[in-house]
Subunit: 109 residues, 4 copies
């Protein structure tokens, strides 16, 4: 039985190249890379606003919705480059044996 | 058998309240909400730069690494509010019966 | 003779509370703080995309337009909190006697 | 008599190519375009967090400091592409005769 994230990814890939009027995902693909990345920035900002609001007593569920939107749009942007959820999972799996402090130290500043 | 994202989430939750010197995740928790959200913005920017670069012929795998970092830090920020990966999955599952165009229309501008 | 940034700021302040249909600035004010901050994130992403594109040979002027949009929306967001361009200038003037390395060291990580 | 923003811009340009150890600005130039754009994203996130916090009763001056940081780093990123503050001012001046609603309608979605 597949996970909802796997189903979402499959759904995104299936809509690549479809008529932009047929679905929201198809319309984002049709607008191209710059548009999808603008949406990632917009959703990141909405997540930041919602999480900061939650920390000060506002509706916590809004942060969840914005996180879902952020992940969704980052998957579309990855799909535009021929990448997908399995690539993220493989990268996270690769890091499992490595501490975060080591991971950070291994990267260019 | 668990998915790597589930294991990552469990790992994050387990480190909440731990000695900041003991792990990178514990150090982010200790610095608080504003710091975690700054990291979300930083990782979103790095993802945007890497994906734009990939669209113009640069290393595609960098976009995957930055997406993994973005998702990782957004999970830490959710955990700080008592939320987690299952909340994102539940939100995405709730949307499965709804088209993206309907979803967008249902939300405040 | 005033600078264009001063005129822009005066223009923004003059539209606070005006009929949302009367101008774009009035419509952003009417939608509230979260909306203005979402726009800041969106414009930051567009600036990042355009500047990265410029570094790889794409149109440089697009980066200028996105920077103008980013500054414009950050001024609206400041105005919503009763702050304005003179506050930014005063902060920058305060830093003139301080090196950037000192400034950075004086701030919480 | 020059404006503080003009002085800041002149200062940034003067440090391009200088020894990275000599100033913070020189160190950002030395790290390259991707690093400067990461800083723009980080500062945008910090501004969003601070402005959202200010809207809910937290320190307003923090939003000013973060706006100053955001503008400062966006000027460095522009300078890396051979662009500067005068380009932003020219773009804003060009828009003075155009309503924001017209401006928005003239742009690709």
């Amino acid at each position: 039985m597949t996970d909802v994230l796997d189903r979402l990814m499959a759904n995104i890939v299936a809509r690549q190249g479809a008529d932009p009027a047929s679905s929201y995902v198809a319309s984002v693909f049709a607008k191209g890379c710059d548009h999808a990345l603008k949406k990632v920035g917009e959703e990141a900002a909405e997540f930041i606003v919602a999480a900061k609001g939650a920390s000060l007593g506002q509706d916590k569920h809004l942060a969840v919705k914005e996180a879902a939107d952020l992940w969704f749009h980052s998957l579309i942007a990855l799909a535009q480059q021929g990448l997908n959820l399995d690539d993220i999972k493989a990268e996270l799996a690769r890091r499992e044996g490595v501490s975060g402090h080591q991971e950070k130290a291994s990267r260019p500043q």
